[in-house]
Subunit: 241 residues, 2 copies
DNA sequence: CGCTACCTTGACGCGAATCAAGCGGCGTGG
DNA sequence: CCACGCCGCTTGATTCGCGTCAAGGTAGCG
């Protein structure tokens, strides 16, 4: 029984301090690979308000993004404009390396799900470092492996599990990725119902119904958009089918 | 409307000549990175009969495989032992790099779907080259990007398309990956009905029913396990929903 | 205070899974 | 060489999960 949640460790190694972009990348590689002086002129730090796009499906990649603060979703536009959320990212995560490495248009759009500060490193600089530094490159390969593993395990879940199980998976993943807020039981991220259904891959109505069921079954407690986890173990069992 | 079939180019660059394993890897990197003499003792060429496993879910990766001849499927064991075919590979493809790079047990099993000749390169040697050669590493990263893109687009398809559309996708992918045999219209791979359903992510019965429908609609022609494509365009349109 | 966008619940119908039964080809053994 | 048995394929009947449509509720904002 595989479960794509079990071993998707958060990338502690890559946690970035809020202020200097260099700090983000130096976790990947000895800073000596970068010309520090040059970087300071090139790297741009920018604010994105909730709902703003970092980049949009179809556009060509001009560089890579590093989240210094905030949360971002990566979503495909599927059939009939229905969104499918593919990945979720937070402080310290890199965004947009896939299109960059493959040198092709973005397949998905990246949108801030809360107010963000995000650094931008131009394509040439990033690729240059990547091609000169095996260690940097190897670390990126590792990132890609993690993403790939997650995606493949999700394929299995999405095709073989029912809605309840997939919703349980989703909640567990939200916890894994974003953790709890101070009270220790409220998932520390605010999604609209529509975003939740976009992640689970279902209709809004079904998502709502299942959340209500979970509440009735004393697994979670809903307070507007906040989701409190009351019985974590029950959630775990649910996800196993 | 995205379609994960459109741009999944076959990896011509990596096509390997049948006989010397070195030839496989030199497409990734200047052979000088390898100690050619050493390789000849270390690299093992082995035969796998149809149905034999290269490796099994849960085992630790000991090296990487290069297909010199034949076809291989990569499949997860999902809920209730139901298989989900995640990737399909052929002559010239590398197998097993994900577990190797991440240094963790295999998540999936690799099984020969026809008689194969496959080379094996031990972990240490491969990782050594990878960490010394940025170009080699970058090429592997590109492979990972391709896999990731494919997996993510498949997530969208599997969650948003219906059975007919998914079956059309599957057939188109089989064609993309394995091409036609000499007659120019028979897909050049033999799958059992069960394998087809494992790829599409459905029940055997549904898979069979839909194939019959396709035959009735003059899109394909079934001759035992052979699948002839009669109307390719219709298939394309179907996959678009 | 009312408008809008989002959330919620109910009723209905379709598509696909499951269960069940029969078919057919192939390999084995008499 | 034929008969039997097994495994994979096929088709039909039934069930049920989930998407869709419809109607109403609620919060936030101007």
């Amino acid at each position: 029984m595989n479960n794509y949640l079990n071993d998707h460790k958060s990338l502690e190694d890559f946690t970035c301090t809020i202020c200097e972009c260099l700090n983000c990348l130096k976790h990947f590689e000895d800073v000596s690979s970068f010309d520090k002086k040059n970087l300071e002129g090139i790297v741009k730090k920018q604010e994105y308000k909730k709902g703003n796009s970092l980049f949009i499906e179809g556009h060509f990649a001009k560089g890579i993004y590093i989240i210094q603060k905030g949360k971002v979703k990566l979503a495909y536009t599927g059939i009939n404009e229905k969104e499918q959320i593919i990945r979720l990212m937070k402080k310290g995560d890199l965004v947009g390396y896939r299109a960059l490495i493959n040198d092709e248009p973005y397949q998905a759009s990246a949108v801030a799900i809360e107010d963000c500060f995000i650094c931008f490193i131009p394509k040439d600089l990033f690729l240059d470092v990547l091609q000169k530094s095996p260690m940097m490159c190897f670390n990126i390969a590792k990132l890609l492996c993690k993403d790939l593993k997650f995606a493949e395990q999700r394929i299995v879940s999405l095709t073989q599990k029912n809605m309840r199980e997939r919703m349980a998976d989703a909640l567990l993943f939200f916890i894994k990725e974003y953790g709890f807020s101070k009270d220790g039981q409220t998932i520390d991220v605010i999604f609209s119902r529509s975003e939740i259904s976009d992640f689970v891959g279902t209709s809004i109505e079904s998502a709502i119904r299942i959340l209500s069921e979970f509440q009735k079954d004393k697994i979670i407690e809903l307070d507007r958009k906040k989701i409190n986890i009351i019985n974590y173990n029950k959630l775990l069992n649910l996800s196993k089918g």
